[in-house]
């Protein structure tokens, strides 16, 4: 399946764009997406943390993705 990921902050700089389509096997989890991103964009592994939000909620590594999900890469936040 194909997942459209959205990136903010330094994640956007690393992806060199706000959105990116990532190809994953069927019934993939966030951990699989993370593996692909880290492999294709090694700069992700240098970040202090890397979280993912699905449909505006943080989700853990074992969350199963669907093609229709809104998946957002959340690099270390720094509001306030």
């Amino acid at each position: 399946m194909k997942i459209q990921v959205v990136a903010f902050g330094i994640a956007r700089d690393i992806l060199q764009g706000t959105t990116q389509e990532i190809a994953l096997g069927s019934s993939s989890k966030i951990s699989d997406l993370k593996d692909v991103l880290m492999k294709e964009y090694p700069a992700f592994s240098e970040l202090r943390s890397l979280r993912f939000a699905v449909n505006e909620e943080y989700q853990d590594d074992d969350f199963e993705l669907k093609e229709t999900d809104e998946v957002v890469i959340i690099p270390p936040v720094s509001g306030g």
Partner: protein
């Protein structure tokens, strides 16, 4: 009462503090974050804040609800600004109103601590010789 705002326009401390006033709230605590002119000894020229807005609003709302659950407070307002901010400008305001001051202090400190950990907002510091996404790297 919970009031959550995320906007590009300058924030007003007086307006935020006024939101948590109440004839039965004897103690109000306001936290104002301002843009500092240096970070680790290096001069900051300005900051740029961006957010994943719909989720940032949801996460701020969660913090406000958690504060209302954990402490005996009457009102909480969390306002965050995005866009370009100059030195001295205000990226964040958190105001809490409670019958007793201890709850107001603790809830306000909890809210700003948690906001800095969970709310999807990113800050870029602009220096004379470049820019850095704050806290991105270890």
């Amino acid at each position: 009462m919970i009031d959550i705002q995320l906007k590009e326009e300058p924030l007003s401390e007086q307006a935020c503090q006024d939101l948590v006033k109440d004839d039965s709230a004897g103690g109000l605590v306001l936290f104002t974050g301002t843009v500092r002119n240096h970070t680790k000894g290096k001069e900051v020229i300005r900051l740029e804040f961006e957010s994943y807005a719909p989720m940032a609003l949801k996460e701020m709302e969660k913090i406000a609800r958690a504060a209302m659950d954990k402490w005996d407070i009457l009102h909480i307002a969390i306002h965050h600004r995005v866009g370009v901010l100059e030195i001295g400008e205000i990226p964040v305001l958190i105001a809490v109103g409670a019958a007793h001051r201890k709850a107001a202090f603790e809830a306000c400190a909890y809210a700003i601590d948690t906001l800095k950990e969970t709310v999807p907002i990113w800050k870029k510091e602009i220096f004379a010789d470049g820019a850095v996404w704050v806290a991105a790297h270890p």
